[in-house]
Chain length 156, copies 2
């Protein structure tokens, strides 16, 4: 797969993040596929748990376009994991409410994902584990250099 040594790979920060994200994503995808859902299905379904959010609100939460949300909710309905319910206050809007089956699947998915994360992090000693998460959060969280916003102040 990769012919480079650990020393060479070490210098390639971009590769490290991408590879880690890709492989972890593939692992999660495979684990969730056993439940018949995709990572996006899970992402939307778990955010829909309150049963009070419209498609637009869910799209905002899940950082999805409203047009891709349509297909996702179509899927969830087809799988019997959620239903579209007319919003009482706005006849244009549809509230996404998970079915009982949907609730069970999300719970299962949560366990599966936690298992994958635990399995991956198990290869690190506990102190390194905490250190890795700290560092990643520092980089990615708002104000960090990888936050994606332009609010990063280099002078700090």
């Amino acid at each position: 797969m990769d012919t480079r040594s650990a020393e060479e790979i070490r210098g390639d920060l971009s590769y490290l993040f991408d590879k880690a994200g890709d492989v972890l994503g593939a692992r999660m995808g495979a684990a969730l596929a056993d439940l018949g859902i995709t990572a996006r299905d899970y992402c939307v379904l778990t955010k829909a748990a309150p049963g009070t959010l419209t498609q637009r609100e869910l799209a905002e939460l899940a950082l999805l376009d409203k047009t891709t949300m349509v297909g996702t909710v179509d899927r969830l309905e087809r799988l019997g994991l959620a239903r579209r319910v007319p919003a009482p206050s706005d006849r244009r809007a549809r509230i996404v409410v998970p079915t009982e089956e949907g609730g069970r699947v999300v719970e299962k998915a949560r366990e599966v994902i936690a298992g994958v994360y635990a399995d991956v992090l198990a290869s690190l000693p506990p102190d390194r584990r905490a250190s890795l998460l700290d560092a990643l959060v520092t980089l990615v969280a708002p104000g960090g250099p990888l936050s994606g916003s332009s609010d990063y102040d280099q002078s700090r």
Copy 2:
């Protein structure tokens, strides 16, 4: 951009890797765009430095399909950064040889990338910096749980 708190984000390992990779990739892309090349151009051009490798060999090194390599080398030739030279030993094969300009651009790109990495890692104290890289390499390198090969032995 992201409405979740640092605590919430912390629990989402997949998100942390993906976000870090995406934003770092975007930063690198923007930095390299100033030089008129893409990350892939750089990746191929730097591996072609010896001036002895064929398109097939470069595709293997860069983990690219041979068909996407065609377009990449087309670009590099159009930009005057590399040339296709017939391989002496195999009349089917083309060796990718960087031009002088290509060499200069790669060198510039190397500095630019190192600058981006340094800038990003500067937000971590030096010991955390080393710890992060150690942890990432442990996860991603061959034998690790995110190596992508199925050679990961959970019992170790």
